[in-house]
């Protein structure tokens, strides 16, 4: 199996902050907005270097989304920053009407997604945001897996004309993708070729999928691991090519199985190449307080859960 090295644990939100800093230096049209969470979103350097291009909105996310939509009128490329919960559910109608339906070039950048937000508990741990955002016509939905990929994604979305939802997280996790890897929206990344099962993972679950694949290899199971960082538009070609070879699939995401990556993959397979599928995802539940590791374990979102799902799906082949 191909080896991946953790270059040093780091948080994906810092990847966003670094990407935004670079955009501040290279693209004069990029502006940033925040609803009182500058430190959490790692936006300090951008603000320090471009004070006139930063808008502190205060605790008023609905207003932030509207202001972002308005800033595009005049040629700006607004990046909004707040937690995933307040970036989506709280402001769904504002995004729907003023951004998505109005075809506005707004980048909705959402940190602290999923249960790995940890101790703050379920009020802040959104597990429905991918579904909410992917249902909006024209919305691109991206969930990068580590620091490097989040930084690259942040830079890449500035070049895409149209609304984007960029989802990342709070905890420090393995940073294993190459720092110079180009980010292509909608293009899946083949991390490990295998023949028995396809593991399709997004976000924090990608590293867990690699650990699982290694353990499975020791048991004689050859797992193909694909990193789907873009949930919409989905790289259907890559998925179908792999599942036609392996005959079964496990999808992995830090999100409810309703509305997430798994359902998008299932739809693709149902329409083109039906195959057994298992979902590593939360099971229509809210989260709770705890450490990220405890929550990943309890809600079945770690490498052990992926291993178990692979064993289960292989029996259904």
């Amino acid at each position: 199996m191909k080896k991946y090295i953790d270059q040093g644990k780091n948080d994906t939100r810092s990847g966003f902050g670094a990407g935004l800093t670079e955009l501040g230096r290279t693209n004069p049209n990029v502006v940033a907005l925040c609803a009182d969470l500058v430190g959490s979103l790692k936006m300090e350097t951008f603000i320090e270097e471009n004070p006139e291009r930063f808008f502190q909105i205060g605790i008023a996310e609905a207003n932030m989304m509207g202001i972002a939509a308005g800033l595009t009128i005049g040629g700006k490329i607004p990046f909004t920053g707040t937690f995933a919960n307040f970036s989506t559910g709280r402001v769904y109608d504002q995004i729907r009407q003023s951004i998505a339906y109005s075809d506005k070039n707004v980048k909705i950048c959402a940190s602290h997604a999923g249960v790995t937000l940890g101790e703050d508990g379920a009020t802040h741990q959104i597990l429905e945001d991918i579904g909410l955002m992917k249902m909006l016509p024209g919305m691109v939905v991206i969930n990068p897996c580590d620091y490097n990929q989040t930084k690259a994604a942040t830079i890449a979305i500035a070049e895409h004309e149209g609304p984007v939802y960029l989802r990342f997280g709070r905890p420090k996790v393995a940073n294993f993708t190459p720092a110079d890897q180009k980010f292509e929206i909608g293009k899946a990344l083949m991390l490990n070729e295998g023949t028995d099962v396809t593991i399709i993972a997004t976000g924090h679950l990608v590293w867990e999928a690699l650990i699982a694949a290694e353990a499975l290899e020791a048991q004689g199971i050859s797992a193909e691991v694909i990193n789907i960082h873009t949930i919409k538009p989905l790289d259907e070609e890559a998925i179908l090519k792999s599942v036609k070879k392996t005959g079964c699939v496990v999808t992995c995401e830090e999100h409810n199985f309703l509305g997430g990556l798994g359902e998008s993959v299932a739809r693709t397979l149902t329409l083109n190449h039906p195959a057994p599928q298992e979902f590593v995802a939360t099971q229509d539940t809210f989260g709770e307080s705890g450490t990220p590791e405890e929550l990943m374990e309890k809600y079945g979102l770690n490498n052990k859960a992926i291993e178990k799902a692979v064993v289960g799906v292989l029996k259904r082949k």
Partner: protein, 281 residues
């Protein structure tokens, strides 16, 4: 600049357009549209500094955002007669495959419209963003908005109202269509909003009132006054006292015609009260 008579002619023709549009499809919102006809005519034909043609960014020209999108009939008529799109297209209002959706949108590429509105309370935030973009672009032109008074019951407005004053967005003129009516009745019965002037002032806005909100001269004077108050560190608000349904006697002073179309007989009455001036579409 158009003469007073010319503005009056456009106003009467716009009223005809409004009642004909909603009558044809037996749906739409004539009451608020009629109440704001003079405001739209004054704004587009006398006040706003506009460039020929339409581009979304609107750099170097004044911008207008309609927050209470349900009064699309007046918006469409004024845009068409200002030259943004063919007047004949008013025939397609609310029909399948039309650019003239029930509520305004950019989605079908209708020139003149820069944001979708209809779900209430979102327009001021958008306008503030556009106003901030103008400042970044060193563009000295202004941003105008219109909101229903009942619409102010939506909380997002007050986030925006707080922001505008707090961040000194002084290149915006927000007009409130102060007709005292909403779908379920008088605003004072549905959800009393108290003293709006004091509320805006308490939030830090410069507020002026136009008592005769259906009088072209009064509106023009009010808008000119408002314009003179921009650039002084405060956002500017106009409380425009209008009469819902103005210009069609049986639609006036009631919320009954908020979202209801006239029948054939009522249409004939309405048109008789507003004789053709510029030619029907």
């Amino acid at each position: 600049m158009p003469t007073t008579q010319e503005l009056q002619d456009i106003t009467v023709q716009t009223r005809r357009d409004i009642v004909r549009m909603v009558h044809k499809v037996n749906s739409g919102h004539p009451g608020g549209s009629l109440g704001c006809t003079e405001f739209f005519v004054a704004l587009y034909h006398e006040i706003m500094e506009l460039k020929p043609g339409f581009d979304m960014n609107g750099i170097g020209e004044d911008l207008f955002f309609l927050s209470n999108g349900h009064i699309s009939p007046v918006y469409y008529s004024v845009l068409a007669r200002k030259g943004y799109f063919p007047v004949d297209e008013l025939n397609t209002f609310r029909l399948i495959d039309s650019r003239l959706q029930g509520h305004p949108t950019t989605h079908e590429g209708l020139p003149g419209v820069r944001i979708a509105s209809g779900s209430l309370g979102q327009g001021m935030s958008v306008a503030l963003g556009a106003a901030q973009a103008k400042k970044l672009n060193k563009d000295s032109k202004l941003v105008y908005t219109l909101h229903g008074d009942g619409e102010l019951q939506e909380g997002q407005n007050w986030e925006a109202i707080m922001y505008a004053a707090g961040k000194k967005v002084d290149n915006i003129i927000a007009t409130i269509d102060y007709n005292g009516q909403q779908i379920d009745g008088a605003t004072d019965d549905v959800m009393p909003m108290g003293d709006l002037k004091k509320k805006f002032e308490a939030f830090g806005w410069d507020v002026l009132e136009v008592k005769e909100g259906n009088n072209l001269e009064a509106i023009i004077n009010g808008l000119k006054d408002a314009k003179s108050r921009t650039g002084k560190g405060k956002p500017v608000c106009i409380l425009l006292h209008t009469i819902m349904g103005h210009g069609v006697d049986f639609m006036m002073y009631t919320h009954a015609w908020h979202g209801k179309a006239p029948n054939d007989e009522q249409l004939a009455t309405a048109l008789a009260q507003n004789p053709e001036t510029l030619g029907d579409y």
